[in-house]
């Protein structure tokens, strides 16, 4: 059984930056015995796509077992469901708030994002639409979007007026 550590969307974040890897880590839950910690890790990391410098936006649920000191990064919402159940409604708002903080800090020229799932079901895409809208509000526009050969939806976004 996991109990919430997070009770509302944080108003500000601690931003970690390390060699082009800019991240925000938000505690979500702990297991009742306190031996397992669960957090949301939101990332805007420098990457290169076909030789073009850009930043990749992604987020993961991170699970740490304090007894074995093992860490797992979960990108599949079904695999993460049990760990985040008591705070599930806060996760997407936290992703969007952290995205704002990261993008406003880094101000990348181009942001790349792709679904983890291949052939993602429509209900999972609504989450991505909300994230896209959040980045649009920060002065970006979708430069390209589509489905890659693996069936993953992707978005390339650039600062408005930089097309």
């Amino acid at each position: 059984m996991f109990i919430p550590v997070l009770h509302s969307v944080p108003g500000k974040f601690t931003i970690h930056s390390d060699g082009g890897r800019t991240s925000v880590t938000i505690p979500l839950t702990t297991r009742e015995d306190d031996d397992v910690q669960v957090a949301l890790d939101v990332r805007l990391w420098r990457a290169y796509w076909h030789g073009v410098a850009m930043h990749e936006f992604k987020f993961a649920i991170v699970v740490r077992d304090a007894v074995t000191d093992e860490i797992a990064e979960i990108f599949d919402r079904n695999a993460a469901a049990d760990y985040i159940a008591p705070v599930r409604r806060l996760v997407l708002p936290c992703v969007c708030s952290a995205a704002k903080a990261l993008v406003e800090t880094v101000r990348p020229d181009v942001i790349y994002r792709a679904t983890y799932l291949t052939r993602p079901p429509p209900d999972t895409l609504s989450k991505h639409r909300i994230i896209t809208d959040t980045i649009v509000e920060l002065g970006y526009q979708v430069l390209r979007d589509g489905t890659d050969p693996h069936g993953r939806r992707f978005w390339l976004m650039a600062k408005s007026g930089d097309r």
Binding site: S23, D41, V52, R64, R152, A158
Partner: protein
Amino acid sequence: MRPKADAVNALNWPDYEGSMPLPSIVRPRGDSKARLAARLHEAFETAKHRQTV
């Protein structure tokens, strides 16, 4: 490396649509477990501190 969005537009997209993006994206080396653990530890310590203040 070309840092601007117009560099993306300059790509010949038909050449790439069939091969993107997994083989084509080059990421920094993955987050080390130690760095991730340190971020996690700090985040939980901060949350604990907020709860006790």
